[in-house]
């Protein structure tokens, strides 16, 4: 028997596979199509304090090897999340931990949503790829100083395991990793989507109403492997790795690069069975290669 449990700081995951925020709704939408017994955690869609309508349509387009999305973080706000969504999730999916993905447009708004969530979920993941309205629209995740500020502010408000989800579009990941470490993060999530754009050449207009969006899926996987590899070399924080995981090989690459757990995202849209096939494939790999626990794969490069 291979031990499939892993942990991200104090977050104990019964298995090494999670779902990526924004691709798995609030966790219960895929009941019937996904084998939840093989999931270690679900990450809910991003929430902030107030409801938010999201972007105009079209919000996505298919591109070779992936998907560009500009959903724009539509959500009903934290009150609704706490009173309706979380209880419903716990009823539908009693055995899988839920990570709330939080966002805001100011340091205070991140802190507020974290405070309101209290202990209602099992962990928090901060999406820092949002524009900081008070600082001219630069994202929180693109300035190590502001990143440290926002992570510290959230840390003060929560005792939950705290993950910080980093953007891949930075020249070097090290200063951001350090900022997270110094401000009390328990783990890192890597990677968020990559800024991207598509143009409809017949209409001579951007395809997305939002003009640009975030690239995910098959084509971003090698970027994820590199970011995880670089982050692992400079930190002891555990890494939840994601980006184009379609099969066990993709997941194992991320483990070897330094991940402690992996998440599936865009691949679920084509094949909800990816949870099972990745799980079975990783377990099989461990038996073939003489590993007795999936956690032994972390950083196990020769």
């Amino acid at each position: 028997m291979i031990d499939v449990s892993v942990s991200l700081g104090a977050l104990k995951m019964p298995s090494f596979i999670a779902t990526a925020s924004g691709t798995f709704g609030y966790g219960f939408e895929y009941v019937g199509a996904v084998d939840y017994s093989k999931l270690g955690a679900v990450t809910a869609k991003g929430i902030r304090v107030e409801p938010w309508p999201g972007n105009s349509m079209p919000r996505h387009c298919e591109v070779p090897g992936g998907l560009i999305n500009a959903i724009g973080l539509q959500g009903t706000g934290v009150e609704h999340f706490l009173s309706i969504t979380v209880p419903w999730y716990r009823m539908q999916v009693p055995s899988v931990p839920i990570i709330a993905n939080i966002w805001g447009d100011s340091v205070e708004s991140y802190a507020r949503v974290a405070a309101k969530l209290g202990g209602a979920v099992d962990a928090l993941e901060m999406n820092v790829s949002c524009p900081n309205v008070k600082a001219g629209g630069h994202t929180f995740g693109q300035d190590p100083k502001i990143l440290a500020e926002v992570v510290s502010a959230v840390r003060k408000e929560t005792k939950l395991p705290l993950l910080v989800k980093l953007a891949p579009n930075v020249p070097s990941i090290a200063p951001y990793v350090k900022a997270c470490e110094d401000s009390g993060a328990d783990a890192l999530s890597l990677i968020n989507t990559i800024p991207a754009m598509a143009i409809d050449i017949e209409k001579r207009r951007p395809v997305l109403a939002n003009v640009s969006g975030g690239l995910s899926g098959r084509c971003v996987h090698p970027v994820a492997v590199k970011m995880v590899y670089e982050a692992y070399r400079v930190t002891k924080l555990p890494i939840l790795a994601m980006g184009g995981v379609y099969n066990a090989k993709d997941a194992i690459e991320l483990f070897l690069a330094g991940a402690s757990a992996v998440a599936v995202g865009t691949s679920l849209f084509t094949d909800p069975g990816v949870v099972s096939s990745v799980y079975d494939g990783v377990v099989d790999y461990c038996s073939r290669h003489g590993f007795s626990a999936v956690r032994e794969l972390t950083g196990a490069l020769n």
Partner: protein
């Protein structure tokens, strides 16, 4: 909802760029409602291509039938599927049409929009004493689909084509307006059920609302997940940004907000 591995029973060209696909799908067919849809993984597309959504045309005896038009990359590739192949289909998805109606049920379709109306007609005839009439529009006679099957259900059919090659010349609203006027004049109760291109649906919604009849409108929005998880498929409604795949695809006419 199940992601079912379905074996293809029959796949035929029905002319005009339309095809009919029949698959063995006992799990999905078991609890399908008219107006629901399925999300099809097209086997010939690579793993990072999204699924394609299609209405349920017919469902019974473990067999699911789709009626679709080739419009792009996915539907072209789907055309290569042969009897005996296996394809993954996720369904049944979304909220369909009510399965009962009072008075006369006016079914209005355009192009492949007639697809969900066939199972609907069967359900309405089975579950209620409603009289069912079909109004169907298209550019030309080749866009008017499955007329014989609708007629075999014993319902009256009113086609309209832009070029006059079949039925009335003009939009589907030409015969529809005559019927609404006749029903309204005799104060006979009726409900409208529609699926097709947006401009047609908008015109039909306006008619349902102005005549005080219930209108059930099936919307077509580009989708990613099909199960309510990604928020890509937004339809504006009186409740805000609704997800077409789960809060729809069938909406009450008075709930829709047109842009």
């Amino acid at each position: 909802m199940t992601d079912e591995k379905c074996s293809v029973l029959e796949h035929v060209d029905v002319g005009g760029g339309y095809r009919r696909l029949k698959v063995a799908s006992p799990a999905i067919v078991k609890d399908v409602q008219a107006g629901q849809f399925v999300h099809v993984r097209v086997p010939q597309l690579d793993e990072s291509s999204l699924r394609r959504p299609f209405s349920v045309f017919d469902a019974g005896d473990g067999v699911l039938t789709l009626l679709y038009k080739e419009v792009g990359r996915g539907t072209k590739a789907l055309g290569l599927v042969k009897a005996g192949d296996e394809i993954n289909i996720l369904g049944p998805l979304g909220h369909g049409f009510p399965s009962k109606a009072s008075g006369t049920a006016l079914l209005v379709g355009g192009g492949y929009g007639v697809a969900p109306l066939y199972l609907l007609a069967k359900m309405l005839l089975k579950n209620s004493s409603a009289k069912v009439k079909l109004f169907v529009g298209g550019r030309t006679a080749a866009d008017i689909l499955a007329l014989d099957e609708f007629r075999q259900l014993g319902i009256e059919v009113f086609p309209a084509t832009n070029d006059g090659s079949l039925g009335e010349k003009g939009l589907v609203t030409v015969p529809l307006d005559k019927e609404i006027a006749a029903l309204s004049a005799s104060s006979a109760p009726f409900e409208i059920f529609a699926c097709g291109p947006d401009p047609m649906l908008k015109a039909v919604s306006e008619r349902a609302i102005s005549s005080g009849a219930k209108g059930w409108i099936s919307m077509d929005r580009h989708m990613i997940c099909g199960v309510g998880a990604c928020y890509a498929c937004i339809q504006k409604t009186v409740r805000g940004n609704s997800r077409c795949c789960i809060e729809g695809p069938v909406f009450a006419a008075e709930d829709l907000v047109w842009e």
